[in-house]
Amino acid sequence: MSFIILYPFTLLVTIIIEYLIILLMYKGRTGKLFLYMVLINSFTQPIATFVFNYYSENFYLIEFVITITESVLLMILLEIPYKSALLFSIAANLVTATIGWFIFIA
């Protein structure tokens, strides 16, 4: 699959999955949450893909940094305590990272 299709497709899937996972735990406005997930993932996923493709294949370290970054952004954007934001981020990234690992690495 060419990157023109692959990258936007994986980004879209990641946004949808992470949105649905966090939606299960978040009690606020769902429309805003979706916008935030689009912005957060559009920021983190291309950088993570670039680092993985061109700089390092340390999948776990990249996912760790992404999880921390997203938790900080979730805390700021959703205006929630950091513990909750970290929990949201860990849950969402655990699912998407597992799917990504099986599709692209395993």
Partner: protein
Amino acid sequence: MFFFIICIHRNVLADIMPDTRYWTEIIWCYDIINMDDYPEYTFLYQTNFGGAYTILNQENRCFYYYKFAVTSIYAIKTDTLNSKYYLPDDLGDLHNKIIRSDIKLPALGGAVRLSNPLRFRKIELKIDSIDEDSLIIFRSSVIYYYDDDSEEILPIINQDSIPEPSRSYSTTYYRERLWFILLPIGAFAGILVILVYRKRNK
């Protein structure tokens, strides 16, 4: 961030061999394009490392050699050879019958970044004249083959310089940069706009 960079940096970058994740080797060869116009001659090459002469024929007409070598082209009357494909180990008297050219052909090897679409480089040589004493060959053109199966033929005007390929980056490279650079910057700008907007309305 510094710790992150330190952790993920790969030591293989220090290796002499190009890292194949980032670099690809360029395949190359020289080709005498009008060799068939001189059926009475057999053409040979030998590198400056010495060793055997190698016969050029239809199966072996696009020739390449060790990356640090320089090659000379020779010709010999075909009827003086027992075989069109093999030379005797000891040339003996044949050595005196070899017609030498002045052309020196350096190896063209090298590697390019994967973002560079160049994959194969061929320099076409043309025999200008040949007689009992001299063989005159010149570089006629260079052909660059790219990863999208396109090719670029450039005539060689000056024998001392080979025209460079016009393409150094693939379109995929630019598209990837748009994805990897502009998208995160745009998203981050969007986040900042939301935060600024929120702060102003408080």
